[in-house]
C-alpha cells in the first residue's frame, strides 16, 4: 500500500545507505515538516516529503462561515505576513460585490501589505543567515519585525494573527502614533538593511555556502508552478502586483528584481531588493496619502461594511446592517471569482464560489508554499544534507500555509 507517512528503517545490515527521518519536529527545519531522506554519507540519494501535520481544514470551515468570519482563518495561512492574506480575502469579496475602493484606503492597504512583505522577507533572509552560521544578522534585523508588529498593533490591535481591516476597508483610521511609527521605521530600517547587506552580500563564507546551491532553471520553475521570489530568482519577472494590479499598485513606481540562476544566493538577493522596493512603495504611499481627503478609511457600502459598535447600539440602520452581515444575510451575487495577491511567498489566490447562501459555497486557497514545496524533495536529490537545510530556509516554507 502507498503509505502517506513512510518511516523507513534500515533492515538490511549490508545497506550502504542511511535513512534519516528529518522532522516532523527538527530544530533545523523551522516548522513541522517531515522529510524521509536516504543518505549516502552526507549526500541525499532520495527523499519523500510528508505534509499535513497542521492541516486544519480551512476550506471546509470556510464553507460554514459568513464572509467576515473567514478573515481570521486567512490569518493562519502564512502567519508571517497575515495582513496580506486578510486583505487578499477582503479584496476577493470586494471584487465579488463590485465595490470600488477609495484611493486612500488602497494606499493604506498598500502600506500595511508592504510592511508585512518586509516582515516576511526579514524572517526568510535572516534565517538563511542563521542557518549558514551567521547569528549576528538574525539579531540585527529581527528587531525591525518587532517594529512592524508595533505598527500593526497600532492599526488593528493585534500583532501576529492580525485580522486587520474589514470587507470594505479598515475598522478604524490610522492614528497619529501609527503614522509616527511608520515614519520612524522608514527612517531607521534602510540603515539596518544596509548594515545587514554589508554583513552578508559580499561575505565569502556566505557566498560559498549559497551561490550555486540548489540552482533552478526558469523552465523547471514554471513547470512546477513556482511563484514569488523563488520564481523571480530564476529570472522570470512575474509579480502579481504588476501583472494584475490590485489595490492601486499601478499608481506606484517600483521595480521587480529578478535573479539569473535561481540558486539560494539569488533568492536572498531578490528578497533583499524587494525589501528596498517595499520601502520605496511605502514612502510613495505616505506622500500620496497627503493629497487624499483625510478621514476616509472605508468604502461607503453600509450593507457590506461592518458598522462600528457604537452606531450599532444607537442607530437603527447600523443595527440592521450589523445583524445582516453577522448572520451572513448580505446580498452577494451568485458568481465565482478568482483573485490573486502577491503574498510573501508568491501568488496567493482565492477562488470563491458564492451561491447566494450565508456562507461561500466553496472557497479554495491557492497557497504558494504548498505549490512551491513540492519541488523540495526532488531537488534535494544529490545535494548535501546541510545544503538541503538552507535550501528549505530559502524557500521560506510556512507550515500554516503549506497545510492550510
Amino acid at each position: 500500500m502507498n503509505h502517506n507517512h513512510p518511516v523507513f528503517t534500515d533492515n538490511d545490515p549490508q545497506s550502504e545507505l542511511v535513512t534519516l527521518n528529518l522532522g516532523p519536529t527538527h530544530p533545523a527545519t523551522h516548522g513541522v515538516f517531515q522529510n524521509v531522506l536516504q543518505l549516502d554519507g552526507e549526500r541525499i540519494v532520495s527523499g519523500v516529503s510528508t505534509i499535513g501535520y497542521i492541516h486544519r481544514a480551512f476550506e471546509k470551515i470556510a464553507e460554514h462561515r459568513p464572509f467576515y468570519q473567514i478573515t481570521p482563518l486567512t490569518d493562519r495561512l502564512n502567519y508571517c505576513s497575515s495582513p496580506i492574506n486578510n486583505m487578499g480575502w477582503h479584496m476577493t469579496v470586494e471584487k465579488l460585490l463590485n465595490i470600488q475602493m477609495p484611493k486612500r484606503v488602497d494606499y493604506l492597504r498598500v502600506i500595511i501589505m508592504e510592511l508585512s512583505r518586509i516582515a516576511d522577507h526579514i524572517i526568510c533572509n535572516t534565517i538563511i543567515g542563521q542557518d549558514t552560521g551567521a547569528t549576528t544578522t538574525f539579531l540585527y534585523l529581527f528587531q525591525f519585525r518587532e517594529h512592524i508588529y508595533e505598527i500593526f498593533e497600532e492599526v488593528c490591535g493585534a500583532r501576529l494573527t492580525t485580522n486587520i481591516g474589514r470587507i470594505g476597508g479598515f475598522e478604524r483610521d490610522f492614528n497619529d502614533i501609527a503614522f509616527a511609527k511608520i515614519d520612524k521605521f522608514l527612517k531607521e530600517f534602510p540603515k539596518a538593511l544596509k548594515e545587514f547587506e554589508n554583513l552578508l552580500t559580499r561575505n565569502r563564507i556566505f557566498i560559498d555556502r549559497t551561490a550555486g546551491v540548489a540552482e533552478v532553471t526558469k523552465e523547471t520553475a514554471l513547470e512546477y508552478s513556482w511563484t514569488g521570489p523563488l520564481l523571480r530568482a530564476t529570472g522570470v519577472d512575474y509579480d502579481v502586483r504588476i501583472s494584475d494590479p490590485y489595490s492601486s499598485y499601478q499608481d506606484f513606481d517600483f521595480e521587480v528584481p529578478v535573479g539569473t540562476s535561481g540558486d539560494i544566493y539569488d533568492r536572498y538577493l531578490v528578497r533583499n531588493e524587494e525589501m528596498w522596493q517595499s520601502v520605496r512603495i511605502i514612502e510613495q504611499a505616505i506622500v500620496k496619502l497627503k493629497t487624499e481627503p483625510k478621514g476616509i478609511f472605508h468604502a461607503d457600502v453600509p450593507e457590506f461594511y461592518l458598522p462600528p459598535k457604537q452606531e450599532v447600539y444607537n442607530n437603527m440602520e447600523a443595527l440592521i446592517y450589523h445583524f445582516k452581515i453577522v448572520m451572513g444575510e448580505i446580498d452577494a451575487p451568485k458568481a465565482e471569482v478568482y483573485h490573486a495577491v502577491e503574498g510573501g511567498n508568491g501568488e496567493l489566490g482565492f477562488y470563491l464560489i458564492n451561491d447566494g447562501g450565508r456562507t461561500p459555497y466553496r472557497l479554495h486557497f491557492r497557497r504558494p508554499s504548498f505549490i512551491n514545496y513540492q519541488m523540495f524533495a526532488p531537488m534535494s536529490e544529490g545535494m548535501l544534507l546541510s545544503d538541503a537545510i538552507i535550501n528549505m530556509s530559502s524557500m521560506n516554507i510556512i507550515a500554516g500555509e503549506l497545510d492550510a
Binding site: N2, A57, L96, Y224, S243
Partner: protein
C-alpha cells in the same frame, strides 16, 4: 474592453480546434471560463500550453455539487504570463466514478495539486505517478470536502438556511 477581445480570440481558437467539446463559455469578472469533457481535457490543456501560450498552471481544485449527474467539477486555472490572461476550465465528472486523466503529463507541478484534490474530494487522476493522500491521514476513510460530510453537529438549528427564509 481589450481583455474581452483577447478572450474572444482564445474562444474562437479553441472552438476551431475542439468544436463542440468547448461549452458553457462565460466571462465572470473578465475571466474566460468554459466547460469541457474528460476525454479531451489533457488535449485541451496541452493545446493551451503549447499553442496558446498558457504556460503556467495556477491551480487545480474541485467543487462538489451533490445530487447532479456529474456532481464533481474539477477546476483548472491557467495563466498566460506574457499576455496577462487567465483562463478557467471546468470538467464535470460523475460522483460515483470520479476519474479524470492526470495533468501531470503536461505540468509536473500538477502532482501535489491533484493529490490534494484526491485527498479532499476523492477524484482519481488516472496515470498520476503517486496518487495518495497528502493532507489527511491514510485511515480517514472519507474525502472530507464532499458536501455530505458535515463540519459540525448537523442537529444545530441556529444555522439552517430555512429558518432565515432561504
Amino acid at each position: 474592453m481589450e481583455e474581452t477581445t483577447l478572450n474572444n480570440d482564445i474562444h474562437v481558437k479553441l472552438t476551431e480546434k475542439f468544436g463542440e467539446k468547448v461549452t458553457a463559455v462565460s466571462e465572470p469578472y473578465g475571466l474566460l471560463t468554459f466547460v469541457t469533457y474528460k476525454d479531451v481535457i489533457v488535449n485541451v490543456l496541452s493545446h493551451l500550453k503549447e499553442e496558446l501560450k498558457f504556460n503556467f498552471l495556477t491551480d487545480i481544485t474541485a467543487v462538489h455539487y451533490p445530487g447532479k449527474d456529474h456532481g464533481i467539477a474539477v477546476v483548472y486555472h491557467l495563466h498566460n504570463m506574457v499576455e496577462k490572461v487567465r483562463i478557467r476550465i471546468k470538467v464535470f465528472i460523475s460522483e460515483q466514478n470520479p476519474t479524470i486523466p492526470t495533468a501531470t503529463t503536461v505540468w509536473k507541478g500538477a502532482n501535489w495539486m491533484e493529490r490534494e484534490t484526491y485527498d479532499l474530494f476523492g477524484v482519481k487522476f488516472e496515470g498520476h505517478p503517486d496518487l495518495r493522500r497528502i493532507l489527511n491521514m491514510d485511515d480517514l476513510g472519507v474525502h472530507p470536502m464532499l458536501k455530505q460530510y458535515p463540519l459540525e453537529d448537523p442537529n444545530r438549528v441556529d444555522k439552517k438556511d430555512e429558518f432565515f427564509g432561504r
